[in-house]
Amino acid sequence: MKIKIIIPTDTIHNPIIAESMLETNVLLNIMVANIDSTYGELIADVKDSQFNRIKKALESKGAVVAVLDQPITRDEEECVDCGACISVCPMKVYSFDENWSLCVDDKKCIQCGMCIKMCPHGALKLGE
């Protein structure tokens, strides 16, 4: 399953991802990581059976963990089929069909949220 791990400012200087993995022996496959000196946000894949263990460990060290079980959704009323989302998606979720209509292959979505900021029409949402 895909999970999102947020590392708030007060714990950003601690190696909490590594600590949690060592402590629980659960391996996280990190797919997206945006970390700087003030804040961190990661998206990782973890086995369903191991999720509770790693969640507990991460949360005990100050991280916020959320399950990403809802891929991106598109509001077809708002969408104007411009295709702005196509080039920012790291997983190639978006493409045009032969009629220049936007196609969304949401199975590929890792819920990184890049496309949400890109969409000028606010047509893309996560977690709904």
Binding site: C82, I86, V88, S101, P120, H121
Partner: protein
Amino acid sequence: MVEKSVQEINTKIEDGSVNVVTAEEMVGIVEELGAEGAAKEVDVVTTGTFGAMCSSGLMLNLGHSEPPIKIQKIWFNDVEAYSGVAAVDAYLGAAQNSDVRGIQYGGAHVIEDLLRGKEINVHATSYGTDCYPRKVLDTSITLEDLNEAFLLNPRNAYQKYAAATNSSKRILHTYMGELLPKFGNVTYSGAGVLSPLSNDPEYQTIGIGTRIFMGGAQGYVIGNGTQHSPNNGFGTLMLRGNLKDMSPDYVRAASFTGYGATLYMGIGIPIPILNEKLAASTAVRDSDLVTEILDYGAGSRDKPLIREANYAELRSGSVEIQGKEVPTSSMSSFKNARKIANELKEWVNNGKFFLSMPVEGLPRDRKVKPMKQTQAVPLVKDVMSDFIVTIKKDQTVRDAAKKIWENSFNHVAVISDSGELVGLVTAWDISKAVAENRFDSVETIMTKKVLSCAPNEPVDLAARRLDRNGVSAMPVVDTQTRVLGIITSDNISKLFARRY
């Protein structure tokens, strides 16, 4: 030689014998029949475009209140409009952001909400006169309540537009969308083969008075747009249309992250095929239309050209930059552009839309000028302190403390034996060292990763860097990193104190 007049074409529209095709269909027709054959066969070519057109806005009249007011300031759903025109006229710009909701909601959103029949809150203020005694007004209106509601768009339907990319190391939030670091993507705008002005690049049939498809209604070209620059193929149009007749399918509010509100407009222009020259120009293909890919990483007006690309390349999904395949995104909708060209075609075919010849052409020999700026941009060297206290890296913390005390200066630049900048020590660093009982060389307590700037940098760029990194001072260094002076937030506040 084929010669037709708009009157002849309008007669054909009336009797239902007119032959209309879209600019996309025209490509194949001219390929097959040649320009002369196509000019005989085809009477009208329809074009279409649907994209962000920030230079748009609504001219409206509210009607008079009781008691009447001469509005000086006015807001629609907290978005300010310009009301320095008579008493109850106002111009609401599409790109004006809400005072309350910020860039998520702007003039464009008010326009779309009006079009969708929603109620809009109005707040207006004035100073009161004998003829207009009222000073404050609060009401709510819908589109129906307005006497006039015309979109008056100063710059729409760019002939083509430069594409955008980003060489810098951070994501840029621009009116061309999110530009990923290190040439991570390219964004572009424009309908290519369907672009109205690109299908009549000599402006033979498009000018003041040309009737067009505007936002789903019939509107007019009222002149060249602002920043009209035909010499390099960047012509623009000024348009007018009645919002009350438009459709929200073709007038859509948008907001670009980190940039603000804008309006997506759907525009279509019919081009009468009066001669074979027009037949040839309406056969333009994506691959004939070349634009530039510019680097937005610089943050300055003159963006470096990365390469040229035609619309066929841009629309293919990727272009090559420095040996790498870079994905492209369109910011305008080709699907909707095609829908507009087809709808306009239906209108003409069904006798609902008649063509008009312009009463005056658009300027064909012009290039847009940059702004005349009378105030020179202040540079770092104009405001920096050229006195800076320096210390060698092997001197002691006590030496540094003494220097700060003697010179009443908060920052001491640490230099190597050959005079190059190697670090910075502040009064705070010294307090910390004293508190920890460390009195050895300044090298052990100094900040080693020092931000610095060049004497010829504009002050605002230096100020932005101080702000982004949360520091109060930067040494100014020459190209050999020898210390010339220091710029502090004090220097910058003094600059502003002088100015106002």
